[in-house]
């Protein structure tokens, strides 16, 4: 009898241990949250996509290392958009339907974002992107789309702010004929005319020409004191070279977006041609600890400096901000519930936090937080677009010297 009881007790003990042993990993496995990384790994965005994807994974690792968000581990499922709307639609369908991801992040070109939006929104899945097109804000009817890159219109506003600061009177614009180039100069025109200014001339040029002499002549004939560019590096190089060679309007100034007016431009043209060029860029939050942490992890993972890929910092922030929103929304981890919390962890009145672990601790202590990202201060506006600060730099003796920070403020 005694033996029987002992055997039974032992057996029940063993089975319960076994049951615990089995249920623990099962429970942990249940508690993973699938995130879709949908990046331009190949195609036109190929230079950035790899880094963007790695940044999402780095951020997910950071969240998991801090014990996960709301006790849940992040699992990243990666896909390639091929920088093509059609391929991206199928990739998004796969992520949502097959991999059951509950948020999609990292679409890069506007075309891809606009094509993927209807799919994610129909499934109730938020989409985080780094695209510039204004239509993204207006098509986002359910507040499920978030933009971590300054819109082209904001760049235009920054240009106008800077042109006014510098006291220019007769601006002209030159734009590369694509959505981003036009967005920059049209944003400028809008902000500039709203100030009561006027443009002396504007030119839109076709991509990939060997020479832009006729477009340049058209601009120079109007005798502007500054030319605002919506351009890329290769065409900017040609235009500036031809301007300098022509010897006309030697005092003309240029306002050029930072992705075109960079070290490579100086390298190609030399310090004499580039002297006095005004470079405008949205600034990564370079002095924030979040940028330092990201930069170190990124350099370790890719062997490249974080500055080489501005979009990587944006996708990193997407994942961290999402993780914090999950923590804030705990225990309700439905995508829409988390989505509704994104602004709450980016609250300008909250305590500034610079990383997931720090933010999680503050949230657990019942505080309101404001995540200061690696890419910008974030500050998501009513459209779900970030409001980064801009830098005004002047190229002097072949060096890009930052003069000041231009803040457009939260609108």
């Amino acid at each position: 009898m005694y033996r029987a009881i002992r055997t039974a007790a032992l057996a029940s003990l063993l089975t319960s241990v076994a049951a615990v042993a089995v249920t623990v990993p099962a429970a942990a496995a249940d508690k993973t949250f699938s995130v879709g990384a949908l990046n331009p790994v190949s195609g036109a965005g190929g230079t950035y996509g790899t880094g963007m994807q790695k940044a999402i994974i780095l951020a997910a690792e950071e969240i998991n290392a801090a014990g996960g968000a709301c006790g849940t581990r992040i699992a990243v499922v990666a896909e390639d958009t091929q920088t093509s709307p059609e391929a991206a639609v199928l990739a998004a369908k796969k992520l949502v339907e097959v991999n059951k991801v509950q948020v999609v992040m990292g679409t890069w070109s506007s075309g891809v974002t606009l094509a993927v939006m209807p799919i994610t929104t129909a499934a109730g899945v938020p989409l985080m992107n780094t695209s510039g097109a204004p239509a993204i804000s207006t098509e986002d009817k359910e507040d499920l789309v978030w933009r971590f890159q300054a819109t082209n219109g904001r760049f235009g506003q920054a240009f106008s702010e800077i042109a006014a600061l510098r006291g220019f009177q007769r601006p002209a614009t030159m734009a590369y004929n694509n959505a981003s180039g036009l967005g920059n100069t049209e944003g400028f025109e809008q902000a500039w005319t709203a100030r009561g200014g006027r443009l002396v001339s504007k030119v839109v040029y076709e991509p990939k020409q060997a020479s832009y002499r006729s477009e340049l002549q058209q601009i120079l004939a109007a005798n502007p004191d500054v030319v605002v560019m919506g351009s890329y590096l290769p065409d900017t190089t040609i235009i500036l070279r031809e301007w300098f060679q022509s010897g006309e309007n030697p005092d003309l100034k240029w306002i050029i977006p930072g992705w075109a007016a960079n070290e490579k431009l100086v390298e190609a043209l030399g310090p004499e041609v580039t002297a006095g060029i005004i470079a405008v860029d949205s600034i990564s939050n370079e002095n924030a600890p979040s940028y330092a942490r990201f930069g170190e992890a990124y350099a370790r993972a890719t062997g490249e400096p974080a500055g080489a890929n501005v979009y990587a910092a944006m996708t990193y922030d997407m994942m961290i901000l999402w993780g914090l929103a999950m923590q804030a929304s705990c225990p309700d981890l439905a995508p829409r519930a988390i989505n509704a919390r994104l602004r709450a962890v980016d609250d300008p009145t909250g305590e500034a936090v610079y990383g997931f672990a720090e933010g999680k601790a503050a949230l657990e202590a019942g505080k309101t937080i404001n995540y200061e990202g690696a890419s910008s201060q974030l500050a998501l506006d009513e459209y779900g677009d970030v409001t980064p600060d801009f830098s005004l730099s002047v190229i002097t003796d072949g060096k890009i010297v930052r003069e000041r920070v231009v803040s457009l403020g939260v609108k």
């Binding site: 790994v41 709307p85 059609e86 199928l90 339907e97 075309g111 209807p118 129909a122 004929n177 036009l182």
Partner: protein, 295 residues
């Protein structure tokens, strides 16, 4: 999973429509059309704009086919004067011209910004159903209709003449037939099908911009037709399915091969498609369903 497969099937069916149109032109008549994507674009923009302006979907689809047919009429007349190879180059340029017109006429087409928010098929028809499912049904119906019409056409006296033109144009002339009219008709018909495919694409993706209509698509369609077997209706279908299995299937290869990163996979994908095409051309130049002797 079903919803994803359905989405792949919709794209595959749209490609099938394009391949069927091209097959009629090249497989049966010997017209080398390197401008498929141009007529596809015309269809997409025509229907997208028509339905956005408030017209019903059937009108949009009809106008898309009509616009593509009209646009191919003048250039089709060229096919009477130009020999095969020259015509091929003209078509490549024509498709690029269409893309440039779309890019430049931004008052109508939105230019480089494209057109966002095109009503999906279900929204345009006022249905509550899943847009993928509705598009699938309409596209499938279109594919079946095009296959039936093509079969009927090929079996008719008209079909015999166009196949004779493909095999020996001078012989047809010697028999007293005038090849020109037949070639233009086939050319216009095939491009109308491409226009219809473009319309369905616009209402499926709901966003169109000029950079979606580049020559790569034309060559995808050629690859599908050659793999399946030119001059065979079934070949068009099989070729497109094989192409889609390669393009989309490679996504899943990575799920079972965890060591391969997405970055590497995108390169492997292109490599595998290229290799498969080369092997096919080496060991079965007439295509999967093709018979020896046909082009």
């Amino acid at each position: 999973m079903e919803a994803y497969l359905l989405a792949v099937a919709v794209i595959a069916l749209i490609y099938t429509l394009l391949t069927l149109g091209l097959n009629l032109q090249y497989g049966f008549t010997g017209l080398i059309n390197f401008g498929v994507v141009g007529f596809f674009a015309i269809g997409a923009y025509t229907s997208g704009l028509t339905v956005l302006a408030g017209w019903p979907l059937p009108v949009g689809l009809l106008l898309a086919a009509l616009a593509a047919a009209l646009a191919s009429w003048p250039v089709g007349l060229l096919s009477l004067r130009l020999r095969i190879e020259y015509f091929a180059i003209v078509m490549l340029g024509y498709a690029e011209t269409i893309r440039l017109v779309v890019t430049s006429e931004s008052w109508l087409t939105g230019g480089v910004r494209g057109i966002a928010g095109i009503p999906s098929t279900s929204a345009a028809l006022g249905l509550q159903a899943d847009p993928t499912l509705v598009t699938f049904a309409i596209t499938l119906a279109a594919v079946v209709a095009v296959i039936l019409v093509t079969r009927h056409l090929i079996a008719s006296p008209f079909g015999r003449v166009i196949r004779a033109i493909r095999d020996d144009e001078d012989a047809v002339r010697a028999l007293g037939k005038h090849p020109g009219r037949f070639k233009v008709t086939v050319f216009v018909l095939g491009n109308a099908v491409a226009g219809l495919a473009g319309a369905l694409y616009a209402h499926y993706i709901t966003y169109i911009s000029p950079d979606q209509f580049v020559s790569l698509l034309t060559f995808y369609i050629w690859v599908a037709m050659i793999m399946g077997g030119a001059g065979r209706i079934g070949g068009a279908v099989v070729g497109t399915v094989v192409l889609m299995v390669f393009v989309e299937g490679s996504r899943f290869v990575r799920d079972v091969m965890p060591g391969v990163a997405e970055v590497e996979m995108s390169s492997i994908r292109l490599g595998v498609i290229g290799l498969a095409l080369m092997l096919l051309m080496r060991f079965r130049p007439q295509g999967i369903l093709g018979t020896k002797g046909n082009p």
